[in-house]
Amino acid sequence: MSRKLGVLVLAMGILVGAMGLKTIVGANAKTPVMMANGCSPVPPPLPPDPKNPPK
């Protein structure tokens, strides 16, 4: 039981750490999406959808 709990706590700890790091890195970010993989050029952000504008 404690071993299962340990695995769960470790997974949650990693998840919380990762999300915390993301918050710190992206605190003052102007670009919303992080490019992560591949060697192709990164596309510019899409303009907002006129049929469904953000609230």
Partner: protein, 231 residues
């Protein structure tokens, strides 16, 4: 972005991908490092598809945008699996590889659930927002896992050269991406920062190819010597 420079970087990346797969096959390590090779094969397929869409519809098109970020999400999941496969190898001697896999599944489900929770409120382009959010979140989970893995490599005095160098390359890759992201936000007016992302995309296959070429599976080193602080 000027076409010629982007094309040179793209050709460099594809060549590096082919180099890694060829080296793995020649050195008989393709199935030993299957998930790393699988990630590189997927990256190569994604880059070929992106190039086709880029040539057909252009950089500013909706089609290229969707193809780029959907394949990016797939690649981030594949990279996450590659990190987990390296962690399984590091912890296999302690018979903890089963737990590593359980943690990986929990992390994947947790990240997907968290990402869905974040984008569920947004009415527009739900699936696109979800893939973007999942890709970013999984990237940071991979970053934290890689640092934990490097800590484990040092603590367990891991000596397999290939494994150590592959984990180090992953750590450098993730850190460089985080740095380039910060740089893009700080100095977005300079066009040169736009090349950083695609250039870094070539780093992993190049470094893994060099590792495969220079070291055999039996090569050993002492990573504890890399720690500067004397005890």
């Amino acid at each position: 972005m000027p076409d010629r420079i982007a094309l040179i970087i793209w050709v460099l990346g594809i060549t590096a991908d082919v180099c890694l797969i060829a080296t793995s096959l020649v050195r008989g390590s393709f199935f030993k490092y299957f998930f790393l090779n699988f990630y590189v094969i997927l990256a190569m397929s994604a880059d070929l598809t992106r190039q086709y869409v880029l040539r057909t519809w252009g950089l500013n098109s909706v089609e290229y945008h969707y193809v780029y970020y959907y394949t990016d999400c797939l690649l981030t999941i594949a990279l996450f699996v590659a990190v987990i496969s390296l962690a399984s190898r590091v912890f296999a001697e302690l018979k903890l590889d089963k737990f590593v896999r359980v943690i990986a599944v929990l992390l994947l489900l947790g990240t997907a659930g968290f990402s869905y929770g974040v984008v569920a409120q947004s009415a527009q382009r739900l699936s696109t927002s979800f893939t973007n959010e999942l890709s970013q979140n999984l990237y940071f989970v991979g970053l934290v896992l890689t640092y934990l893995l490097w800590g484990a490599v040092l603590k367990l005095h891991e000596t397999r050269t290939r494994l150590v160098q592959m984990v180090l390359a992953l750590g450098l890759y993730f850190s460089a991406y985080a740095g380039s992201y910060a740089l893009v936000n700080l100095a977005s007016k300079y066009e040169v920062v736009l090349y950083l992302g695609p250039l870094l995309g070539c780093f992993l296959p190049i470094s893994w190819s060099l590792t495969m070429l220079r070291h055999s599976e039996d090569s050993r080193l002492t990573p504890a010597r890399l720690v500067a602080v004397p005890r």
